[in-house]
Structure formats: C-alpha cells, structure tokens
C-alpha cells in the first residue's frame, strides 16, 4: 500500500515499509504488544534490567504500569490538570522567594 507522503511535522515518514519509524514507536509495539505464544526460550522481558529501568515507562501498558507502581503520567503536568496546579504553585512559591531575595538585595544597596 502506498500513501501520499505529506504527513505533518515535515520529516515524519509516510508508510510502514519505508518510513524510519522511531525506535520508541517500534519498541512500544514489539516489546509490549503482539501475541505471546509459548516459545522454548523463555525470557520475561520485564526481567531485563535495561527494559525495566530505561524503557518500561514507555512500553508498559497503562494497567500493567500501574501494577508496577509507575503512574508518572498521573502526576505529569502535561496530563493532569491537578498536577499542573501543583507545578504552578511550586513555581509561584519559587518566584516569590526569588523576588524577596532580589528586593532584599536592592534594599541593602
């Protein structure tokens, strides 16, 4: 199947075969999706340290990730307005400190 290659974002490639899909997209699928049939060589991918440490954030399915205690997207400001409020008030707090500090410094002069 050929599709017109006019995807948004300029360099985004257009079709499965020729597109250099991002490694993240590929890993997300080949590691976490797909059919599991019983092979003879049994490796639980979640036992692989590289994957658990570096990649599981992205390859873990929502529910599985929650099981493993990874629910960063719930506290990620991009994804939860509650978390964003927290970030805002943190930032405001820091700014207040900074202003107090700056104004204190100019008083001394």
């Amino acid at each position: 199947m050929t599709l017109p290659s006019r995807l948004p974002g300029g360099g985004a490639p257009a079709s499965a075969g020729e597109r250099g899909s991002s490694l993240a997209d590929i890993l997300e699928r080949v590691l976490d999706k797909g059919v599991v049939i019983a092979g003879d060589i049994r490796i639980d991918l979640l036992d692989i340290e590289l994957l658990t440490v570096k990649l599981r954030l992205i390859v873990a399915s929502v529910d599985k990730a929650k099981e493993m205690g990874i629910d960063w997207w719930e506290t990620d400001p991009a994804l939860s307005s509650a978390a964003r409020r927290d970030e805002l008030s943190d930032e405001n707090e820091q700014l207040r400190h900074r202003v107090a500090e700056l104004e204190g410094r100019s008083d001394e002069r």
Binding site: G9, S15, A24, L27, R29, V30, A38, K54, A78, L79
Partner: protein, 287 residues
C-alpha cells in the same frame, strides 16, 4: 544441542504469498513460511550463540542490539503487512526447531485463528499529539505591552517599580505570564487532542490509548498528550490519514504525528475495558 534456533515473527493466515526477495530479518537471516494447522508461522533460523536463553538475556541488556533486533523484527512484520494481516508475535519468541513451532501453533490454534478472523483486512494507525508549548511562548513573547498580560495577578497599582524592567515585580510578572502562556497552550492542545481523538475514533473500528511517550526515549519535541492506536480497514487508510492531518493543522501549538500502517499490534488482545478507554477522552472533554 542444536546450534540453530527458530525465531518466530508472526502468525498469518494460510496461503501466504511469497515474501519480497532480499528481505532479511533478525540476525540477517531470511524469513520463511511454515504452514501448519491451518495457520502460517513466519520464522527465521537464528544462531543459538545469540538466541539461546543466556546470550539472549545478555543481548537484550544492550540497547544497540535491542534496537537492531527490534527493527529487523519490524521489517519482517511490515513486509507481511503489505500482503496480509499478520498477528505480530512479541519480540524474541524463540523455539528449538520447526516441530516446536508447529506444536505452538497447534496449542493456540483456535485463539490465533479467531484473532486472525477478527482483524483480517485491518491495519493500525498510530496518532500522537504533542503540545508545542515553546512555540506558544515564542508566539506570546513579542506582545510585551501590559494589556497583553490579560490577567495581572494584583490588578491596579502601577508604581514606577512595576514598570522598571529590572525590578523584582517586573521579573515576577514576566515569569507569571510565561507560566500562564504555557498553561493555556497546554489547555488548548489538550482540547485539540480530545477533538481529534473523538473524530478519529469515529473512523476507527477500535481504539487503544497508550501512555504518552517519554521524550527521554523518543527524543520528540513538545509534550506528548495523546498516544493512540486506531484499527482501520485497509481501504479506509487514505481518508483516515487525511482527516488526522486536517484536524491538527489549524492549531499552531499542536503537532500531530501519524505513523503506520502497522500490523494490528495494539489490537491482538481482545478489548478489555474498552468502554473506559474509548469513552475516556470524550467524557473528560465535557468536564
């Protein structure tokens, strides 16, 4: 012990057309069809030195090896997707020999055949929506007049200290404005993302929402708000991609990335909690 093992890429319906000449899979070897029990397994012969349990485990800890192997696996699945609807197997499904692969097919025959039937003629499209909050800030930056701030925290008082560019208050105000620009850009992007998801879901037979990708791995710019997979009939692909492009194009703080067509990776498992996933974005949109 056998010095060679079988790496299985996918299961497909029987009667697989010939694969493209020159197609190479994992370990640089040629994939071939192994028909059994009314199914086709697509397998390659791989060296035990690399794919027996111990070496395989060690290799999987090596990001370069993992990346190369994942791409080779995907190349074969892609080639299959051009000619049929394959069920991709999880990376590193390894058997001792062809007979063992046949036994696996037999053991899961009914489920595999059922899933093949369910997905026949469909492909998966991935759509990611990013909020480009940097762009929003750049857009807002030139509008430095006081009225552009919109929401000045403590309205009214405009003492000379406020106006002095180097003062703490001016700094605070600038920072507050930057934060609120970013905030509203995110809100805007979220809304666009929800609208887009609802519209695309209407074109799709099924939908899966995946966790947003972490930029530390994807290297993508902006914040990934939506990372969704849509199951679409093969012939509806053009329209789907066109619609996805249109929906994202009008909003400068949003970047839409479409990938595919993929083999229906995200849909091989029967929908669990589909209502929650598919309805989630739309329900949230009204809140």
């Amino acid at each position: 012990m056998n010095a060679e093992l079988r790496y299985a890429y996918a299961v497909a319906p029987p009667g697989l057309p010939p694969l493209p000449e020159g197609l190479r899979g994992v370990a640089g070897t040629v994939p071939r069809a192994l028909e059994h029990a009314g199914l086709t397994a697509v397998v390659g012969t791989v060296p035990a030195d690399d794919f027996a349990e111990q070496p395989l485990r060690a290799h999987l800890e090596d990001l370069d090896w993992l990346a190369e192997t994942a791409r080779a696996h995907q190349a074969v699945v892609d080639a299959l997707t051009e000619v049929t609807t394959p069920l991709p197997l999880r990376l590193a499904t390894v058997h001792h020999d062809d007979d063992s692969v046949r036994r696996s097919l037999e053991a899961d025959r009914e489920e595999l055949a059922g899933t093949l039937d369910r997905l026949a003629g469909r492909v998966e499209w991935g759509v990611k929506v990013y909020a480009e909050t940097d762009r929003a800030q750049r857009r807002a930056a030139p509008a430095a007049s006081p009225s552009a701030a919109g929401a000045a925290p403590e309205g009214g008082a405009r003492s000379p200290a406020d106006a002095a560019p180097g003062s703490g208050r001016a700094y605070l105000r600038r920072r507050m404005r930057a934060v609120s620009d970013r905030e509203s850009a995110l809100d805007e992007a979220e809304n666009t993302g929800r609208t887009l998801h609802a519209a695309l879901a209407a074109y799709a037979e099924d939908v899966r929402l995946h966790p947003p990708q972490d930029p530390r791995l994807s290297g993508a710019s902006g914040q990934n708000l939506l990372n969704a997979a849509y199951l679409v009939p093969r012939e509806g692909a053009g329209r789907f991609v066109e619609r996805a492009e249109q929906l994202g194009a009008h909003d400068p703080v949003v970047r839409v990335e479409v990938t595919g067509p993929w083999a229906p990776y995200s849909f091989v498992a029967p929908a669990s909690g589909r209502g929650r996933h598919a309805g989630g974005a739309a329900a949230e949109a009204s809140s």
